[in-house]
């Protein structure tokens, strides 16, 4: 009896407490909305949004619905996260490896890089790039070409766009190359296991990846042209580049700040991962006669990755969540387009803020679930 009381009373009290809080809040919201004449509902999503978005990956204009505006914002968020994740991974791996270098200068430069970018609030870094650094760039008419065809100006970064003919054949050839590589790997593994013969899989794979798409250019009728941005005079003093792709300065500032900031955390993960593999593993592998490359590939990396990947994914998630700071410099991401402009226009605070939060929550929880599954899979199974 005593046990049952101890077990159920606290639970009932807690549930009651939570229910009461939610009930109280809902009741207040109900009365408040009744008083102000606001009704709750998601019908506004299909209404015409009648605002414009500066930068969009899909066709969008003011006559489209709020739901489409939401999609525009979501895609912009994903775009900036995707680019930043790629850059921060490359930077992070380089810096993380550099921190373990035996070279005093490299080790310390890398350490200072980490200390420097990690300890300045991200928002300040975004502001610095956007309001200070990128504003110092030249006007379009005075810009020098980078790599001959791209222009970094105060109005954004202009890069050539690709004009494809028969793009699908090119993609098929790439797909064929990947399939061929998988078959090759399988065959090579088989050969190694049965006959003990080694073939340079990496070299063959690289060759396949280059040769097959090249063939598609020669025989498949695929052609690629670059549309290079050209300077055009709008009025007496106003110039602009036409053609190609223009990346707005907001996007550049955001990518720079996010990737530099997150790369420091990725670097720490990489360092911890490589340091986490015990020295004995390396020595044992070398003593069985593996070459240094094989030691790295077959012994060190699989173990280091096991330590590196979970915290790094966490950093990617943080990056995606941090990309919401875009709102501070008016990059049209999910928060700015939806929780900013759309909320202003419709006044549907509860609906819009909940949708925005749920979107981020869904992204986070999905990736977290995948990570949990992956961690379970790669866990070392001790007997």
């Amino acid at each position: 009896m005593n046990n049952i009381v101890k077990r159920y009373i606290p639970q009932i009290l807690v549930i009651l407490f939570v229910v009461l809080i939610f009930g109280f809040l809902t009741l207040n919201a109900q009365t408040n909305m009744d008083n102000r004449g606001i009704d709750f509902g998601f019908g506004f999503l299909s209404q015409e949004s009648s605002f414009d978005v500066q930068f969009s990956l899909i066709e969008y204009s003011g006559s489209d619905s709020y739901a489409r505006a939401f999609l525009v914002g979501l895609l912009n968020t994903l775009l900036v996260s995707f680019i930043s994740i790629i850059i921060c991974t490359i930077l992070g791996v380089v810096i993380g490896v550099a921190r373990l270098s035996s070279n005093y200068l490299i080790k310390n430069s890398a350490a200072w890089y980490v200390e420097f970018f990690r300890n300045i609030p991200l928002l300040l870094q975004i502001f610095f790039w956007y309001y200070a650094a990128l504003r110092a760039l030249p006007m379009p008419e005075k810009a020098n070409a980078w790599f001959g065809v791209t222009y970094m100006t105060v109005k954004g970064y202009y890069i050539p766009s690709m004009v494809w003919q028969n793009l699908n054949i090119f993609l098929y050839s790439g797909l064929a190359a990947i399939i061929a590589i998988i078959v090759l790997r399988y065959y090579a593994n088989n050969l190694r296991d049965t006959k003990g013969k080694q073939i340079p899989v990496l070299l063959y794979s690289a060759a396949l990846l280059i040769v097959l798409p090249l063939l598609s250019f020669l025989f498949g009728g695929v052609s690629l042209e670059f549309e290079i941005p050209e300077l055009k005079k709008l009025s007496k003093i106003s110039y602009i580049y036409e053609g190609g792709i223009s990346l707005p300065p907001e996007l550049i500032a955001l990518v720079l700040a996010l990737s530099l900031y997150t790369s420091t955390f990725v670097a720490e993960c990489v360092r911890a991962g490589i340091e986490g593999v015990s020295k004995g593993q390396k020595e044992a592998a070398a003593s069985v006669g593996l070459t240094p490359n094989q030691v790295l590939k077959l012994v060190i990396m699989p173990q280091a990755l096991r330590i590196i990947i979970p915290p790094t994914t966490n950093q990617y998630l943080n990056l995606t969540k941090n990309s919401s700071l875009a709102a501070a410099i008016a990059y049209p991401d999910l928060v700015l387009v939806f929780a900013g402009t759309a909320l202003m226009q419709t006044g549907k605070a509860i609906e819009i803020v909940s949708i925005t939060m749920l979107t981020y929550l869904t992204i986070s929880l999905t990736i977290a679930a995948i990570m949990n599954w992956y961690n379970k899979k790669i866990e070392i199974k001790e007997k």
């Binding site: 077990r7 606290p10 639970q11 009932i12 807690v14 549930i15 939570v18 809040l25 809902t26 207040n28 919201a29 009365t31 408040n32 909305m33 008083n35 270098s101 035996s102 070279n103 005093y104 200068l105 490299i106 430069s109 200390e115 420097f116 990690r118 300890n119 300045i120 609030p121 991200l122 928002l123 300040l124 870094q125 502001f127 610095f128 309001y131 200070a132 650094a133 504003r135 110092a136 969540k321 941090n322 919401s324 700071l325 709102a327 501070a328 928060v335 929780a339 909320l343 605070a349 509860i350 803020v353 909940s354 925005t356 939060m357 981020y360 929550l361 986070s364 929880l365 977290a368």
Partner: protein, 423 residues
């Protein structure tokens, strides 16, 4: 790199080789330095691209000539071991050295030699360097926001009082030490709140009322992070215990809470506190914006705190629980006297990191219109009398935040090292 082999020294001729090698490195350094500082190109007779590569090539040959496994000369061995283990390392060494030398004169002259600090208006800044006058004139605004100038002593006094009260634990008598946790978790926050309320807000004791809208600058950053810090810790502890509980209702409510806050960005939480939260309050109940923001950040950081504390709870060996239970301790006794003291000691570095993240997150309150340091910078930047000094402002703010955060992270490393040895 086989070609360079004839340049390899051996034990016998290392002396000559190292002299020639260091001479070559010296030449390359002199070339770069004269190029960067004096704008003199010593290698003007070489064709364009070779001029820029000249110091690199000369330096590489020099370092290659000095490289030897063991020479007996301590300094040379130290040099070889640290920056000159192979050609790739030597190249990186030179590239880093040269880029530092190349960047120095520009940044130094911008930040120090050509910079202005005298005067008190924009006209003083005529040079090509930074305009620190801007920072000097706006300094009080950056520190105290729109808080009236004549009352700044109130903020200072309040901060000194709060910090002094925080150190009480160090001077407490031995027999009172058992109440330390009680003091920090309950009494201290209340006193700190009263101090800040009566001194900074004013309104009584003859102090003029200053509304929170006027608060700002770095002092607001401190106020927000201080309150979030002291509130999120106990809250995090509750949810950590809740998540480890074997009562399903409590466990799942805690999990939902933690996962929800960890899954959303802080900026949406702040949006929620400013536009959505007022809808959920009783009609004529007014809650100050600053209070709402502090609540929002506290709830948010408590989830992160909870996860860190849970890590500590999980890493305690089961024996501790069993031993406590076998002594006949109940749930609360066991946790208060046995589990939590050990677990909290373990997670101090993690908690310090969470607090560091909290401090770095406070500038975000700018998006709901509270002008702390980043917000004041944005205001100052758009002031028509002071246009065009964004760079100086952000560098100033970055330096301040960097010092705070770096000190905190170093402190957490120290704590980590300290508690590692004790176990």
């Amino acid at each position: 790199m086989q070609i360079l082999n004839f340049l390899k020294p051996n034990r016998d001729n290392i002396k000559n080789y190292s002299i020639i090698g260091s001479f070559l490195v010296l030449v390359s350094l002199i070339d770069v330095i004269s190029n960067a500082f004096l704008k003199i190109n010593l290698t003007f007779f070489l064709p364009g691209s070779l001029t820029t590569l000249f110091p690199l090539i000369i330096g590489l040959i020099g370092l290659n000539m000095m490289r030897i496994d063991y020479s007996g000369n301590k300094k040379l061995d130290l040099l070889n071991k640290n920056i000159n283990t192979n050609n790739f390392n030597a190249l990186l060494t030179l590239v880093i050295l040269f880029s530092i030398i190349k960047a120095l004169p520009q940044s130094l002259s911008w930040m120090i030699f050509d910079a202005t600090i005298s005067g008190d208006s924009k006209d003083a800044c005529t040079g090509t360097g930074a305009c620190w006058t801007y920072i000097k004139v706006w300094f009080r605004r950056f520190m105290y926001g729109m808080y009236p100038n004549e009352f700044h002593w109130r903020i200072n006094t309040a901060f000194i009082l709060v910090i002094a009260l925080g150190f009480v634990g160090y001077f407490m008598k031995e027999n009172l030490k058992k109440y330390l946790a009680l003091y920090y978790v309950i009494i201290y926050p209340v006193i700190a709140y009263l101090v800040i309320y009566y001194l900074i807000s004013g309104g009584s004791f003859g102090l003029q009322w200053v509304e929170t809208g006027a608060w700002g600058g770095l002092s607001l950053t401190f106020i927000v992070s201080f309150f979030c810090l002291i509130f999120c810790f106990p809250l995090g502890m509750i949810f950590a215990l809740g998540r480890r509980s074997n009562l399903p209702a409590i466990k799942y409510i805690s999990i939902c809470y933690i996962e929800f806050w960890r899954g959303v960005p802080l900026i949406t939480v702040l949006f929620m506190s400013s536009v959505m939260f007022p809808m959920f309050l009783p009609e004529d109940f007014f809650m100050d914006k600053l209070v709402r923001v502090i609540i929002a950040i506290t709830l948010f950081e408590a989830a992160y705190c909870a996860e860190v504390i849970r890590g500590g709870l999980q890493s305690l060996p089961r024996g501790q629980y069993d031993a406590a239970k076998s002594l006949g301790m109940g749930y609360w006794k066991m946790h208060i006297f046995v589990i939590l003291p050990q677990a909290l000691k373990l997670v101090i570095p993690g908690i310090a990191n969470t607090f560091l993240a909290l401090v770095k997150d406070t500038p975000l309150i700018f998006v709901v219109g509270l002008a702390e340091l980043a917000g004041m910078l944005a205001l100052a930047k758009t002031n028509p009398k002071w246009l065009g000094f964004a760079m100086e402002g952000y560098i100033f703010a970055s330096i301040i935040f960097w010092i705070i955060c770096y000190a905190m992270s170093k402190y957490s490393y120290n704590l980590e090292a300290k508690y590692k040895t004790e176990r």
